[in-house]
Symmetry: C3
């Protein structure tokens, strides 16, 4: 593995975040103080102009870059660099007033009025034209400014629009995809309830005002929305690349596996990925290790979009203001959280925002500089400390995890599962199931990738693809070849029930050729009430099935576990099948965690996959690594509030202090120690 | 009692269900396999064309009957018969596109776009014209086909429309009903809050966009919707009766006392009734006996709409896909459920649907033929078994229960109760209260009718009319005469508070002359919080009042029970009054079940009403009978998962095997034994 | 203190309520019976014409006053007086049909259709013109009628309208308030998310169709709605005052601190205040003392709007019909509830309504005359008893509480808190917090005022202002001077975080100069989950913090309590600071009640504030007083269902019987004894 520098012009860990001097034009003393505090906070980066369109272009065609000129210069003078935003995430009132088409229509097909944050149509030619003009102005003005190191395209792209232009774009996208109405009708199985389309113009997006029942239409709409969002973003990229071809572009993602946009599609044409992160530390789940695990899973996903380091583009230095209950961030947690991102491949710790707004919606969201306006608050000191630590990590910039195991997660697959009637209504817990397979890896300190259907499977000894409901014939073939050539594949209940058009596979599940690979037939699937369980026996131990139990028949596979209750008592609950040079595991039920843990342990042992750290990891402590191929940097992270002592048979070097650490390594509460061999 | 054959052309128990070959036109091998499996499944009937309009008339005025010709012929060749649907339940896209008036307006008066299942205006002349055309085509084409045995008019008629045409039809219906605005204003008590109507055009249906507070308007709207739904259906009946006057017509009802249409009105002009049924076996209530009881209550209601056998038009051979949690159907349950319908008067067991759809909304709903496509699944074998048993029941076709006790249930009465402010908001548990009186009858194996206000009361020794809130002077007179002539009437709290226009009776409750019949005055009614109870004493035993306690005064009646708590301690809680040759019982409170049970037992004893089975019935076992006047056919049904042994002093003959059963009869788990004397 | 007679023409306690003879025009025998029952019920007042517009003006410009002429005469003949309503609270159908602009638009900007109760635009010139005409007609016709004693303007003014006229009126109001868009943009901090307004016409009210995120816009909208509601009412007042300048005007308020209208603004220009009251006696909180306390708090608030006696304009003689569960009113409770209002300053007990409606929405709402139509019901006798007691209280009419302690409650402040993101979402329990400070005063029988920001602070020894989030520089100065001059001020967490425009105070909280007054700096505020608590220690005792814990630093203040848990363990939880001649207390956390109780006791002791009753008050018993400056009238109120005996060192005179009460006073269950020294 070689280092991949995502920001070639600045090979340091970035420390900074969103800065909105446009809010403080009437307070020149504040702007001056900002620069003093920027340095004092050990920052080296600012993200500028994200919501500044109204300030940059107060009237159509009248531009005012004065505040941004000053900010660019001031930041550079203070030793900082700038990631410059295209301001499309919040358009000015005058634009909405003059070109109503830029305002979205809601899912009832009603034109919204101006308001909130995102509320612009991604299809509107007027909006694309206006963003192109302002983006071009920005790029031309700052293309040679020494502070400029990257472009931040728009912000947290999200949402959808049901305007006539979007409806037509959807039809065009469908025409492109299906070619003929016959194909579309077959794929959508529109004969059901006499929904056969006889004219492209009959197609409307799914809406509470009309069609809600055609699953494939709903899934295609989600795919189109992802496409159109990305297409809009790509039109923005084109405007800045035309002028600054060497400045990398990125766009920041909403955390939590944001459901409405396929982030794999969105990241296809950026230079590197950026992830925002707002974990609910000390949340309703009091165990911060679980919170950390979920953040880690998202970071591992973000890293694999481009298989490169990424930026932690936004995080809160203090409380988040939009949870149901917004607790204070506990002492030490900001440092722990910032270094966690770096452990998983971030080359930054950035915040939203540098200075707290005085008014409006987010005036209490944590910021580097609080309303009191100086360096006295506790959290300012915690920001300083993050900056101090990042400054010592230059050698890690550009390195990456080298994972031998991958989890599979696909947006379309989740949409299809959540749409499906049968099983249970609504959320079928796709993401928590992904987490349940990630957890045994995280707690063992195993570096893990999270990949999609189009990724190369060959680097991985083991692939775990839970709830792989949607399997095209092509993907079936790819999985078959992966196993045939020696890979170990683990799938679960609901595997390969539908194809890429949400049509059920005929001839028995799992379809797409996977019955043979797994050596089983899945006859039917039982859905349990939340209060019900079914015992499962394996190797004399008893486990507990919840939610889903498939009634499967072994047709060649070895039975690893059997049901010990219900009318399917004695039938297989988990199997393994040798296929070609590889193995295919099938888990027919959802478990409470211990069976999954046991299975993951078995796979790791079989394939000799181990943590980069040689010692045992106490509860709440994990280890993740980054490497340039030669040196491996290991992050030992303590997510508990107590001191933890780790044993190692080796001697390590503390990356920051250069100190030698042999035999035992002690982690203070919430502390992360970064070592190398 | 004489046998009533609802399908004169085919005097067998029907076994089959919805068949949608239009979904599989591109799969000729599937269509062929369907016929093999039809025979293998012991089916003898298919319901055709229910959602086939788009296939039958792909363009306006262009018809294609080829697939239906083939299906009619194939089914007949396979020994089956066809119930042919008018396809109005799901209109084609082109129809909605060309005639937007066929699309409903929602309760906000907004025109919906095409989608889902039902979404057509029952008033639209265009829709009535187009259905008349396609219905006529179908009738003309198949009028002489030997497979055709009945018409299935539309499907699960439901919903409502707020379009201008419907608003006008509502006004016309009101004009017809009230004659003058003065009458309407008085009935609606519109002086309250100055709502007096001074022009018919001021009237709009109740809507969140306007009027929500005039109860009588809301109840009249529900009545109008029922009328208009039936009127649309009757316009369809006319089209097919014109061509096939001898083919009986029916329409299938949504289960669960579907609230939005008065099913008694809907069934007025069909030849026989049809009931769909989707019990939640092994539901959140783990006792299947309760689930069975609720289904039984619905069957007894359906039978009494026409006082004839009915069809079980739809049921799921496997899981239902629209519950919150969709469990597998347990082994044996399909047979038990199918025979239960027959026990209560169904002359069929029919399924939705024969072959599982490959895509769209209901692709996982249980079907005779699963996606695997052959006879291997367990549930296919269970369908076979149902067919086998039904085939042996020819002699029962056309027979009926001969009930001496009736429950009263009326849709308008329920609407009026649920609308009422006072008591508690929203659902006041009318249906569960009906169930609470049905339960003691069901568990004793008493054949029971469920009737409406217009039924003949004279066949019944006992009439139980719980929560009979709405009583016109005319109904009051009818009840009075029923008691005077020797009938036993049992009513409860809330009796006769309003008249048929939802105007309170003046002069004291119960109104409409019933104070005299019951010999009481109801001064006021206390509503309890769910967590509260009031003790009630009767014959030295203590019972528990919940939800409602009326403070009544005995004015001639004998007191059967008294309150033992609250400020009405010592006042009457239940009474009986001799009136003419009969008796009138009044239960002033809602109980937890044991008081109701005791009262029902008392009534049965007083009037010598007993089960057709002479022995005791264990918990979860019931007995229901059908008779042709001579022979009584008794269904002994075991809804438990254990074997049950019943004692009898008689000798019975097993209808299917001809075997003699004397002394004891053993029921395997989930088994139904059908015997006659 | 001098007596203030709010109704100079009738110096008696009023007993009566809403009377709607327009509903009973077709029942002349009922109208006659009404007068007999009016006298029998010991009533002396009727509120006429509240919903009678449709009867008074059945067609535009055609008037019919016959039923009202008769009612005015009949009531006067029966010894009664009339409060005459302007009928604007429910406009006729014809008015809405002819002038659609009078119908409101909802928050989605959609025009509503006719329906419900309030549904009229307060801005509409047509509506204002039509109300002026009918009001003028009424005033001219009855200006010299001897029965007329006051005007009841409209009814329970409430709701809001988003029509174009209201949107424009909102803009005009904003222009008036802010002068320039620059000022508005700064106050609304509209640079956040590029919301800068560049044209007044870009402004729309907050709406789910557009802007929801600008807090200050939302708060200003609430202020505008309050203004416009009052402005409409004031236009009505002008019409009647022009003709009957000496007849006082009032408008009745919805109980429960109705959130949508600032009642302090609404009452600015009436002659006296009127409060409706519907306590949920025997509610889900089984302790009627808590229910009574909440009612008392509202009465004390209503009295202070004008610092005069007020009318209890509506209450239910029996059950309320719009709770989730509507229990019967228990025996004795009506008398207790009616006298409670009088104890707190009401000069009446009035009901909605005299005779129960026969139909429509409120047909089961308690009334003086029930559907049975005569005097037999229990509740009629209870009404008689209330009338009997009020008739003996002439000497109390016009007297008032003389409170030395005041609570502060402000509508805008509550809106700002509830809007705020951070803390927790939505309801932050402003009213329950006010109650928590009222409770220790109520149970000690301390007369208390509830005041706003513009009231004179000087009469009060102690001012308690919980959650005083919104503090302008001007209010900060006023509070500072109050303390400086010897006042005792108690504030809590969240004090002075924003100014009157919802802009955060810079330089540290509490802002507006209050850091100095309290001698503290509030660094940050922790929000707890509902299941969490933090121990707090004071004087060796442990208390429990819930919901909110501020991390504050004493900067001069004396620490009264410290946190004993969380990362802020050992930091101050409550402080007191001497400032000028006064003291400023700061409670940094929300407690479970015992700490608040202890603090209130401390303040009362420090400032020598005591109850007008000298003896101890048992649990559920309270004492409140009214005085004319010379004689103090003391209401001893027993809200328990048991007899209570009170000890006193004094001799008192029973106001009604003239009896001497020395040493002990016995209160029967639910009884109120009214005594004077």
């Amino acid at each position: 593995m070689e280092k991949k520098y995502i920001i070639p012009k600045f090979k340091h860990m970035l420390h900074g975040g969103d800065y909105n001097p446009d809010q403080w034009q009437a307070y020149p003393e504040v702007l001056e103080e900002d620069m003093r505090l920027f340095k004092l906070a050990n920052c080296n980066e600012m993200s500028l102009g994200i919501f500044a369109w109204a300030a940059l272009e107060p009237e159509e065609g009248k531009f005012d870059f004065s505040f941004m000129d000053k900010a660019m210069d001031d930041i550079y003078k203070a030793g900082g660099r700038v990631i410059l935003a295209t301001p499309s995430a919040a358009r000015p009132q005058w634009l909405a007033e003059k070109y109503p088409e830029v305002l979205r229509c809601n899912e009832r097909f009603e034109r919204m009025s101006f308001g909130r944050r995102h509320n612009h149509c991604y299809t509107s030619p007027a909006y694309r034209e206006k963003t192109a003009i302002i983006n071009t102005k920005l790029a031309e003005r700052y293309k040679d400014h020494p502070a400029l190191i990257a472009w931040h395209i728009s912000n947290e792209l999200s949402g959808e629009c049901y305007c006539p232009l979007c409806c037509q774009a959807f039809r065009d996208w469908l025409k492109e995809k299906y070619g003929t109405l016959d194909n579309l009708n077959h794929s959508w199985w529109s004969t059901f309830w006499a929904h056969t389309y006889t004219d492209w113009n009959q197609i409307l997006p799914p809406s509470p005002m009309g069609e809600t029942s055609v699953h494939a239409l709903r899934i295609d709409w989600r795919r189109f929305v992802s496409h159109q969002t990305a297409d809009f973003m790509e039109s923005e990229i084109a405007t800045v690349k035309a002028i600054t071809p060497d400045i990398p572009v990125t766009t920041n993602m909403i955390p939590g596996f944001y459901n409405a946009v396929d982030y794999r599609r969105l990241n296809k044409n950026v230079d590197f990925a950026s992830q925002d992160m707002y974990p609910q530390w000390k949340g309703r789940d009091p165990d911060d290790a679980n919170v950390a695990m979920y953040a880690a899973l998202q970071y591992d996903t973000a890293r694999c979009f481009k298989h490169k380091p990424f930026l932690l583009m936004e995080s809160a230095p203090g409380l988040v203001n939009w949870f149901q209950y917004n607790k204070l961030m506990r002492p030490g947690v900001l440092e722990q959280a910032s270094l966690q991102a770096v452990a998983h491949g971030a080359d930054s710790a950035q915040y939203f925002q540098f200075r707290k707004s005085r008014g409006s919606a987010e005036k209490f969201h944590g910021a580097v500089v609080d309303h009191v306006g100086d360096e006295t608050p506790r959290l300012f000191r915690e920001v300083q400390q993050v900056g101090k630590r990042l400054a010592a990590l230059d050698e890690i910039v550009g390195t990456m995890a080298d994972a031998k195991i991958a989890l599979v997660h696909d947006w379309s697959n989740k949409w299809a599962i959540d749409e499906a009637q049968g099983f249970q209504k609504g959320d079928k817990r796709v993401i928590p199931t992904l987490e349940s397979f990630y957890k045994p890896l995280w707690k063992r300190g195993i570096d893990t990738d999270v990949i999609g259907f189009e990724d190369d499977f060959s680097p991985y000894s083991v692939i775990i693809a839970p709830m792989l409901y949607t399997v095209s014939e092509e993907l079936g073939e790819k999985l078959k070849n992966y196993v045939k050539n020696g890979g170990t594949l683990l799938c679960t209940y609901m595997t390969a029930m539908v194809d890429e058009n949400d049509l059920c596979h005929l001839g028995g599940f799992p379809g797409a050729g996977l019955k043979e690979v797994f050596g089983i037939w899945n006859e039917e699937i039982d859905t349990l009430y939340p209060e019900d369980t079914v015992p499962v026996t394996a190797d004399g131990k008893t486990y507990t099935a919840v939610d889903y139990c498939e009634v499967i028949h072994a047709r060649g596979a070895e039975v690893l576990a059997t049901y010990d209750g219900e009318f399917y008592k004695g039938m297989p609950a988990a199997t393994v099948n040798s296929y070609g040079s590889g193995k295919a595991y099938y888990l027919a039920f959802r478990d409470k965690g211990d069976f999954t843990d046991m299975m993951v342990e078995r796979l790791l042992a079989e394939k000799n996959i181990a943590s980069a750290f040689d010692g045992a990891l106490p509860q709440g402590v994990t280890a993740h690594s980054r490497t340039d191929g030669d040196t491996t940097y290991l992050f030992l992270e303590n997510f508990t509030a107590s001191e933890q002592t780790l044993s190692t048979a080796l001697c390590w070097t503390d990356v920051e202090s250069g100190e030698k650490l042999c035999g035992t390594i002690t982690l203070a509460p919430h502390k992360t120690v970064i070592i190398k061999k």
